[in-house]
């Protein structure tokens, strides 16, 4: 555990020593703020319409019409920012030769991978923490239900974990961080749109494609439903990606 924390601490430090952490957190905050204002105006309008009683929705709910779509919008931000977080994790170590230090220290490959994952996850946590400010305003001036908010954050954390673990794996395959970043982005996007084609497919394929989509699993979380099905999906996704990373690092050793 000490070893994992040592690696995580080092990762986090290097994020904040380079502009990466500031760019990721700063731009996410700006984009999130933009989405927030956008949805707030929209919510404002539909609640006025509902109040006036002409043509508006039957009922308005701050959780369903504002917070849930907001959480889904966050996944757009993750799509662009998390490849930046993971692209250098292994690539940079390989390029500069510091991987030789890690692999000749009394650490297991798994500890290194966990440490790097934890470091990325902490940075992502800091990124999410910024959004608590906006959420604070909603709680101050409205009365949203807190349970769906909590489950929404859990969903976001797990989805980010999937992206991070996948990015970690891709970074372990190359010593060029631009390649790692680009491929990570492309694969994220693929997992994002993988079920777009589902409507044209037969029922079985449709189910499979929907199940594979990373974002599809977030929907229920944002509505306050914590379904084991989704937990299993996210946890197995993360575990499998981290496992692949360990294997990739090990096979690199044999190939030299």
């Amino acid at each position: 555990m000490t070893n994992i924390l040592a690696i995580a601490h080092k990762e986090l430090k290097s994020y904040f020593a380079s502009p990466i952490a500031y760019i990721v957190i700063g731009f996410s905050a700006i984009l999130y703020g933009w989405f927030f204002i956008n949805l707030l105006y929209y919510f404002d309008r539909i609640s006025m319409q509902a109040g006036a009683g002409f043509g508006g929705p039957q009922s308005v709910n701050v959780n369903e019409q504002l917070i849930s779509p907001l959480f889904l919008n966050v996944s757009v931000i993750l799509l662009f920012t998390l490849p930046l977080v993971t692209m250098r994790t292994y690539s940079e170590e390989k390029r500069s030769g510091t991987i030789e230090l890690l692999l000749t220290s009394p650490l297991t490959d798994l500890q290194i991978v966990f440490g790097k994952f934890l470091g990325g996850l902490t940075l992502y946590g800091a990124m999410l923490a910024v959004t608590l400010v906006h959420m604070g305003f909603l709680f101050a001036f409205g009365n949203p239900e807190w349970r769906p908010v909590l489950s929404g954050y859990l969903g976001l954390l797990l989805m980010g974990g999937c992206f991070l673990s996948l990015g970690l794996f891709i970074s372990s395959l190359t010593r060029n961080q631009i390649v790692a970043g680009m491929v990570t982005f492309a694969v994220f996007l693929l997992f994002w749109v993988i079920n777009w084609i589902a409507t044209f497919m037969g029922p079985t394929t449709q189910n499979i494609l929907n199940y594979l989509s990373i974002t599809e699993h977030l929907n229920d979380f944002t509505r306050g439903v914590v379904d084991t099905k989704h937990l299993v999906y996210y946890f197995s996704f993360i575990a499998f990606s981290l496992f692949l990373t360990v294997r990739a690092v090990d096979s690199e050793r044999w190939r030299g």
Partner: protein, 314 residues
């Protein structure tokens, strides 16, 4: 302390290290000598557990590096060819991080870091970012990193590369000083380094060990017989040659160079027989002037070239 048995490492079809075996005793400093691409770095990488061997095994400090890597790695300090520094970390932070992953107990970390910085003379750079260090400092921080957890075994890949002459001397002294407490393998292609610091030398070429011995023995062994270089001031050169030839044990005398009355001779004698006294008294008793008498040995450079250029290696 270190035992390497029939170690072979292949990268696809290329053989980087081919059936290498050697032992290093506790406290010994072993020099690893060879031209670039001979397999020095690969051997060291196997010994430190960075790459697994294709065949054979390596036991370091009593632990097989492949079967018990964690235990073995706890006892190894390793300076790779390029010092593994994180450019965005300060020297102090970097060493603290390394002390953590090397398993130094929390209470000892600060003291160990300070000690390692002191020994490698990098304390004045503690607050500097690693990316902004000169090559000499980088090398020394790399060395500090290897010493942090006070390992039984030190494996140093070209520890003096990139240092200026003064730093080279300091680093060699440090390494010599570390020998005894630590078992050290260092690789180099600088020959004087080997004769100055190492107790024993392994010469490696094209992945194979071509010689293992002390620097002195290597120098002596490579000539089948002993050769003396004699400079004599005598009126008639022919007489000197005959007189030297008459000395018991001498097998061959050849004139290397003549300048006026002074002539240089190379005198071969039976292997292991020291004929210096007899040669001197033969010359002096004839009334000639003995200007110089010294054993002629192959320098390490010559041995190295001899062993590493083509079909030698007996």
């Amino acid at each position: 302390m270190i035992e390497v048995q029939h170690l072979t490492k292949r990268y696809g079809p290329t053989i980087a290290v081919d059936d290498v075996s050697f032992r290093v005793e506790k406290g010994e400093i072993l020099g690893f000598l060879g031209p670039n691409g001979a397999g020095k770095t690969t051997t060291m990488r196997v010994l430190t557990g960075y790459v697994p061997p294709s065949e054979g095994r390596a036991v370091v400090a009593g632990y097989d590096i492949f079967d018990q890597p964690i235990e073995a790695k706890r006892r190894i300090g390793y300076l790779p060819e390029t010092p593994p520094l994180y450019p965005e970390m300060t020297v102090g932070d970097y060493l603290l991080f390394v002390s953590k992953i090397k398993g130094v107990p929390r209470a000892d970390r600060k003291a160990r870091v300070a000690e390692a910085m002191e020994r490698t003379r990098v304390a004045d750079m503690a607050g500097r970012h690693c990316g902004k260090l000169s090559k000499g400092y980088r090398q020394r921080v790399g060395l500090a990193q290897a010493l942090l957890h006070n390992p039984e075994v030190l494996i140093l890949d070209e520890p003096t590369a990139g240092l200026d002459p003064k730093q080279i001397i300091e680093t060699r002294q440090l390494i010599k000083h570390l020998g005894g407490d630590h078992t050290i393998i260092l690789s180099t292609h600088i020959l004087p380094e080997v004769s100055q610091t190492c107790g024993r030398v392994v010469i490696i070429n094209k992945g194979r060990v071509v010689a293992v011995d002390t620097p002195e023995n290597l120098t002596a062994r490579l000539r089948g017989s002993e050769t003396m270089y004699v400079q004599v001031d005598a009126p008639v050169a022919g007489d000197v040659r005959a007189a030297l030839q008459a000395v018991p044990g001498v097998t061959e005398v050849s004139v290397a160079d003549t300048r006026g009355n002074v002539a240089n001779y190379e005198v071969n004698s039976e292997s292991g027989r020291d004929v210096r006294r007899e040669l001197a008294s033969a010359i002096v008793s004839h009334g000639w002037g003995l200007l110089e008498l010294r054993p002629l040995r192959m320098s390490l450079e010559e041995i190295f070239l001899h062993l590493t250029t083509e079909d030698v290696a007996q």
